[in-house]
């Protein structure tokens, strides 16, 4: 049971045996305030309160509105399942750029409290409370003020929740527990006790290592407190770097200890835009190459970036600054995405916040770097980068030809060669994950009457009409008992000339779906080779011959 604060809104620290005494020697996590807007992708899509809606990515639900949640729609469902549970549900496509653009006014308003704001992802931002807390009269007062400000911007369609704790992870959890007008403030040093009862699954908020969390759950480490009680050395030995980061977070420490540091100047990259960019796409083009060169410069020094500052200067001398943070490390693609979202937020924002002139200079400053050791790319330059490029190219082609024009194969059961591999729209599957359904042995069940291997390389989309005659020019057919009425001697495909048959086998009858009146098909197949060496798969159905496939 998670202790939930009420009106007093302060969770008291209890001296707890599960907290390792070792932690007292570690440098303390920075006290952080997190503002999070629940179901942000739904709010950003402009869905009014009370309307059931979901945001979909790769055919899966990634965000749910409160009204939809009440009727049983949850994250991770397929589109059909969500529609099944709530037929009148509104479907919205996932668009991180839209989320970031809509979040920009919230961040701008919160900048009244502190200039050092970090956006964790669209819908959530964080800042260190040390300075502003003293100015506004304590963490609770600051949290309440931040709550009013954020709620004032996102209302009426959304709400904002605020949490304060030691470290961004604990503050994030605190914010998730908070009510819209009741921030949760965890007392100083009370963070380990606050974290202890949370399930380990909450770690997936900050790490993408679902497998690690799964292992812990199966080992019986169900709460963060149980995980925190382990010896750090043992965690490092067994679960390596990712495990140590999660373990540190569970103990209420910062994820990146001593080695998170200010990088040497000179790692920042910047570029002039001439002519200045008024539109997002022109600036984005530059952002991509800047992100690449920043990433390359860091990688050459064995570093990775956990916080990046995007700085833009306009023709009229205005400077726009925003920092983005990630608990893991930011890849080149992730940096480019964040820059794009940010530029989108600035350039297509409301008139009051939009810069008065085009952007003439763009800089990326790595604000916090760690030794790059978390991510292992492919040996010769990185498989994941290639995958990223592939996803972009697919999106590009979908833009030109339409979303259904790009498909991926998936194995199905069946007898004819065409049935055994289906083409699934690429938009409906997550291509970055492994797809066991595409492998040759994905279908285990026996299919009696299956056409034997090897499979034909050409399977005609529409079967071509064929005529088959025996040596006396009589049409060949198949009897009800499944025997041929003659020996095929000559074949004419699609009205072309007659070709002599050199070898043949069949008929192989296939009586399919006899239980279904409309889809019932009764066919018999033949394999023939013709004088030119080509081999064909023919099918006879209701006395008519068709060319199904060519080997």
């Amino acid at each position: 049971m998670i202790p939930r604060s009420r009106a007093g809104s302060v969770v008291q620290a209890v001296p707890d045996g599960t907290t390792s005494p070792r932690s007292s020697r570690e440098p303390e996590a920075e006290r952080t305030l997190v503002v999070t807007c629940p179901d942000w992708p739904v709010v950003a899509a402009g869905i009014p309160v009370g309307e059931p809606a979901v945001v979909l990515h790769a055919n899966r639900v990634v965000a749910v509105s409160q009204a939809a949640r009440e009727v049983g729609v949850v994250e991770g469902l397929r589109r059909r399942e969500a529609q099944g549970r709530c037929p009148e549900i509104t479907l919205v496509d996932h668009d991180p750029a839209r989320d970031a653009r809509a979040f920009e006014p919230v961040v701008l308003a919160l900048e009244a409290l502190t200039p050092r704001l970090e956006v964790t992802h669209p819908g959530t931002c964080a800042f260190a409370t040390r300075g502003p807390s003293r100015y506004f009269g304590g963490d609770t007062a600051l949290a309440e003020r931040a709550g009013w400000i954020a709620t004032g911007v996102v209302a009426p369609s959304g709400t904002a929740q605020v949490g304060v704790a030691d470290g961004a992870f604990a503050a994030h959890l605190a914010a998730r527990q908070a009510e819209p007008d009741e921030p949760v403030v965890v007392t100083r040093r009370g963070t380990p006790a606050f974290l202890a009862p949370h399930p380990v699954d909450t770690l997936v908020l900050i790490t993408d290592r679902n497998d690690l969390v799964d292992v812990w759950r199966r080992l019986g480490l169900r709460t963060l407190g149980q995980l925190a009680a382990l010896d750090p050395a043992d965690v490092l030995a067994r679960f390596a770097n990712d495990g140590v980061i999660a373990h540190r977070l569970a103990r209420g420490l910062d994820s990146h200890p001593l080695d998170a540091r200010r990088p040497a100047p000179g790692l920042e990259v910047s570029a002039e835009l001439d002519p200045p960019a008024e539109r997002v796409d022109t600036a984005t083009f530059l952002a991509k190459s800047l992100a690449d060169s920043l990433h390359e410069g860091l990688a050459r020094r064995g570093l990775a970036c956990t916080r990046v500052v995007v700085e833009a200067e306009t023709e009229h001398g205005e400077t726009l600054v925003r920092s983005w943070r990630h608990e893991g490390t930011l890849s080149a693609g992730a940096i480019a995405d964040r820059v794009r979202w940010q530029l989108d937020g600035w350039l297509s924002g409301a008139v009051s916040v939009r810069p008065t002139a085009g952007i003439s200079r763009l800089s990326l400053i790595p604000d916090e770097v760690v030794s790059a050791r978390g991510r292992q790319l492919g040996f010769w330059g990185g498989e994941t980068l290639v995958d990223e490029r592939v996803m972009r190219a697919i999106a590009r082609v979908q833009g030109v030809l339409g979303i259904d024009a790009v498909t991926v194969p998936e194995r199905r059961g069946g007898r004819s060669p065409g049935e055994q591999v289906a083409r699934i729209p690429a938009a409906a599957v997550d291509l970055t994950a492994s797809r066991p359904g595409a492998s040759l042995d994905a279908v285990a069940g026996p299919w009696p009457g299956r056409v034997p291997t090897p499979a034909p390389a050409t399977v005609h989309v529409e079967p071509l009409p064929v005529e088959v005659v025996d040596a006396y020019d009589r049409p060949v057919g198949v009897t009800g008992r499944g025997t041929a009425t003659g020996v095929p001697a000559r074949v004419a495909i699609a009205g072309r000339g007659w070709a002599p048959v050199t070898a043949w086998a069949g008929p192989w009858p296939a009586d399919e779906r006899w239980w279904d009146l409309r889809r019932h098909r009764r066919r018999a197949r033949f394999q023939v080779t013709l004088a030119d060496g080509a081999a064909h798969l023919l099918a006879v159905e209701s006395g008519r011959w068709w060319l199904e496939a060519t080997y």
Partner: protein
């Protein structure tokens, strides 16, 4: 014992320089199946090159050609071949998990689509039914050279390209085994492939291939007069010689 640190460091640096990965010729090629190694010049599919397969078994041959790269983890895009037998592709060794199929673009959009794909995919398989504009071909070749991708034409119009591809594999003859008169089923295909091209492949030569063999694998035909269906063996066991 005192160690001369600067000298040590220099020695270490020299060693590091020597061990630094060079841009080896093998890295400029995509892997191919052992039996296909006998068809292409060098050790694999030259990155940045274009290859065309024509003749009756062109599609199977193209699939066999890219199977090695696909099994090695390369992404493959197939443009405008709705009738491609995907089961055959999987049987020949293509990894369907990393295969993406693109519908048939209009001839006017064809160049744009293929160029976008060459940007990211290491292998792009096409089967053009129209004549490609010379400007389009130049753009595609430049793009594939820059990105290290391979453009494979699987059948389609033999005269689609204004300028002939670097390597052309033509199936000049095919014969099937396993089918009798009224019994048996197709089991193995023996094809004769004529290899022509530019540069290293300038001398035309013929290679006989099981596509696939009786065991379902692709193998070179061992020319032996005693056994009509020769046992397929790996290419490495038979040093292939240029003939003709």
């Amino acid at each position: 014992m005192p160690i001369d640190a600067p000298a040590d460091r220099l020695a270490l640096q020299a060693l590091g320089d020597r061990a630094r990965p060079h841009n080896l010729a093998e890295e400029r090629v995509l892997p191919v199946l052992p039996a296909i190694g006998g068809l292409v010049p060098g050790t694999g599919l030259q990155r940045g090159a274009s290859v065309a397969t024509t003749g009756p078994a062109a599609r199977s041959l193209a699939l066999a050609l890219v199977a090695g790269a696909s099994a090695g983890g390369s992404w493959i895009a197939v443009v405008g071949i709705p009738s491609l037998g995907l089961l055959a592709a999987a049987e020949l060794g293509v990894n369907l998990e990393r295969t993406v199929l693109i519908g048939s673009p209009e001839p006017s959009a064809w160049g744009t689509v293929v160029a976008a794909l060459l940007d990211a995919f290491e292998v792009v398989v096409v089967s053009p039914e129209h004549r490609i504009r010379p400007a389009d071909q130049r753009r595609l070749l430049a793009r594939s050279r820059e990105r290290g991708a391979v453009l494979v034409q699987a059948g389609g119009r033999p005269d689609a390209w204004p300028e002939a591809p670097e390597l052309r594999l033509t199936v000049v003859a095919q014969s099937w085994r396993g089918l009798g008169s009224g019994h048996g089923h197709l089991q193995a295909r023996r094809v004769t492939v004529e290899v022509t091209g530019r540069r290293q492949a300038a001398r035309a030569r013929q290679v006989e291939l099981w596509l696939p063999g009786p065991d379902g694998r692709i193998a070179l035909v061992v020319t032996s007069s005693t056994t009509p269906i020769a046992q397929p063996v790996l290419a490495s066991a038979v040093p292939l010689q240029e003939v003709g």
